[in-house]
Symmetry: C2
């Protein structure tokens, strides 16, 4: 059994303070049904950043922001020459999102800082809390943009001219966000870190089903996103005979039916989702001239991710009957395995605290995987009710959130004192 880590700091994690802050954040962008709609770089995002900075004031953290708006709050260590440990998550939400996804990771690190401060502990290495810009991708795709740009996987200028559904440029929304806190010093993209650690709700049902409190996350399944555009020809719904129509809705259905076959998996490992469908002109009495729909395909096995994903375009071409089809891949990320340094630190901390835990891969992708070019990375999962996420009904127990934060304190003390 592992050594019980820094018991005084762990004991000073406040379940109540963490929960109250979670609920205060949930008021920013609150939507009916206890949900949250806090799009990245929106007015709500700006308010959430300001609230975080307000809470951080007593902790005397050094704030910095990078060119894509990733916000860093550094707690100094005893040796300023050492690479910091980085920990955090994101503050943006899905349009119909919940109160826990993302924001928990940010507030858990803040709570860990509170506990360390109250215990009078200074680690050797600095610890940086990070709040990543645009993890969700709901307003501007792709998601995890902040961490990808920070780690050098994508360039910021690729994204500046993206527009949201109201025609607002990402570059303009970013400038507005940065201008809201003009006092924060800028830092460049990227740097060397000792490790990156991200607490998060599981967003799946496994921890709850198995009665475990902590998920020791071993890696993340791969994801591929596609946009399929079916182009037909509009016609009058009453006058145009069925024969001879080029109905984009009907051909989109044929493609999705074929995709369901391609993605069928008796082991229930593959994840295949058509979550967005946009029809044009989208009026009841006109045959659709075009349909655009999204494919979100994920698999933990690289070979399966490649085989099935690469088959999509040709299959769509065979499935259409009357229209033409184009398939574009917008985003892909291969499956990743987290570094044993971080995975073991999480597992040891959970075990040392006597919490129930299990090793598991993540079904969702997270900023943690995009930090891999910069340092060893890992995650801590806590259960969420029925696995519901990206939904106003998302819920996690206060005690589970606190337990995850206790594990975080233990793991940070381990990683930041090496």
């Amino acid at each position: 059994m592992a050594k019980k880590p820094a018991p005084n700091a762990v004991a000073l994690v406040s379940e109540r303070r963490l929960w109250d802050r979670m609920m205060a954040m949930a008021e920013i962008g609150a939507i009916p049904g206890n949900g949250v709609n806090r799009a990245c770089l929106s007015k709500e995002d700006i308010r959430a950043r300001r609230l975080l900075l307000t809470w951080a004031r007593n902790l005397k953290l050094d704030a910095e922001v990078d060119p894509i708006g990733n916000l860093f709050l550094r707690r100094r260590g005893t040796d300023a020459t050492l690479d910091p440990v980085c920990a955090g998550s994101h503050m943006d939400s899905q349009p119909q999102g919940g109160r826990f996804d993302g924001i928990y990771g940010v507030l858990a690190v803040l709570e860990a800082f509170e506990a360390l401060e109250a215990a009078g502990i200074t680690t050797r290495r600095p610890i940086e809390l990070v709040a990543w810009t645009n993890e969700e991708g709901g307003r501007y795709a792709p998601g995890a943009m902040g961490s990808m740009v920070h780690a050098g996987l994508r360039r910021l200028d690729e994204f500046l001219d993206l527009t949201d559904k109201d025609g607002i440029r990402l570059g303009d929304a970013l400038a507005e966000t940065l201008a809201a806190e003009p006092w924060i010093p800028r830092r460049p993209l990227g740097r060397s870190y000792a490790a990156y650690l991200e607490p998060h709700i599981e967003q799946g049902p496994r921890l709850e089903a198995e009665g475990k409190t902590i998920g020791v996350v071993t890696g993340i399944q791969g994801s591929r996103w596609f946009t399929v555009t079916v182009t037909g020809e509009t016609a009058h719904a009453g006058a145009a005979p069925m024969r001879g129509r080029k109905d984009a809705v009907q051909d989109a259905l044929r493609i999705i039916a074929a995709l369901n076959e391609l993605m069928a998996d008796p082991t229930d490992t593959a994840r295949f989702t058509v979550g967005r469908i946009n029809v044009s002109p989208n009026t009841p009495n006109s045959v659709a001239s075009s349909v655009q729909f999204s494919i979100d395909f994920r698999h933990p096995d690289r070979a399966e991710l490649l085989r099935r994903g690469d088959a999509i375009a040709a299959l769509a071409g065979r499935a259409v009957r009357d229209c033409t089809v184009a398939v574009a891949e917008n985003f892909h990320v291969m499956p990743c395995a987290f570094d044993p340094l971080v995975v073991d630190a999480v597992q040891n901390a959970a075990e040392g605290l006597g919490l129930s835990w299990m090793r598991m891969p993540s079904g969702a992708f997270h900023d943690a995987q995009f930090m891999q070019p910069l340092c060893p990375t890992g995650m801590i999962f806590v259960p969420c009710r029925k696995g519901i996420s990206h939904n106003v009904a998302e819920y996690a127990e206060p005690a589970h959130l606190a337990a995850g934060t206790q594990v975080l304190v233990g793991a940070l003390l381990d990683l930041a004192n090496r």
Copy 2:
């Protein structure tokens, strides 16, 4: 062979003037690809009404408007005690509509007035040009609202609180439209007419395929519109296993596949269209919590319209696997047969002019069918290229538009001199 009708008036129909006016109207709400987006009661609709009134000025017509904004321009007859003959169509378009649907019928009647005026002809009965409000139903459903309310089939107050996609109330848009021409005298809804006649492009491929210039329209197939709402539960596209999902997109697909079976028709007589699909939350990485889609089902046979339409709700309930479904019928109209008085007047005029013609039902619905409670009604069809309509590519030959107007002059002289 029928007597050639009033040759001097027919000869004075100007193909050029009619075409130029069509093209001038097409500039109001013009969209790329030669299309038109002129929603009912919009700024564009107001401009179109004003342009019509400007052209009508020399003809000394008596303008009147009813409570739902239907615009009447009366050409006086020799006997003011006789019921007028009414003729016209609508000036609104589909969102991605063409330059001919609706507006042709209005401008054809105006051109007929020009020809009668130039020929110095006064009919016994008055003739009223009508421009109906909201035939298309694209901004506020259902379509044919103006004629339905005028004929007493629906009440105006049922519709006043409808809102368009920008939240604008129909009542407010209507008030703005009426306020734009405050000088026009009001008239009540409804009245007794001697006949109603509506020129229109066919919106289907039959006249072109058979090489005929004039469609003598015998009636209109029936229509039923439904909205299907599938309610599931959103979840994270990466984390939620496929088993246990309540994916509204997948269940909507199951329903539409089952509807395709129900609507299958080897004779290609039934018309079945899913033209609108709205997904929520409509993000690529969230399982859809709900899908709402439209059904437009039409059939010329009353029994088939009832049998298949009535089967939809139960079939949808059987087709869903993981979600719940609700089916609402928004609109229905039974098949109608036009009155021999008007149908024969059209046929005789076409024959008298030596134009090629065929008797045919209408695939689309039109204001003509909703005028049936008030008087004998009928329609004149002219060909449109490839049958394309509700589409920016909609096109009709200037010569065909003029031929339809010549038939209109002949039929109006017949009907208005009885």
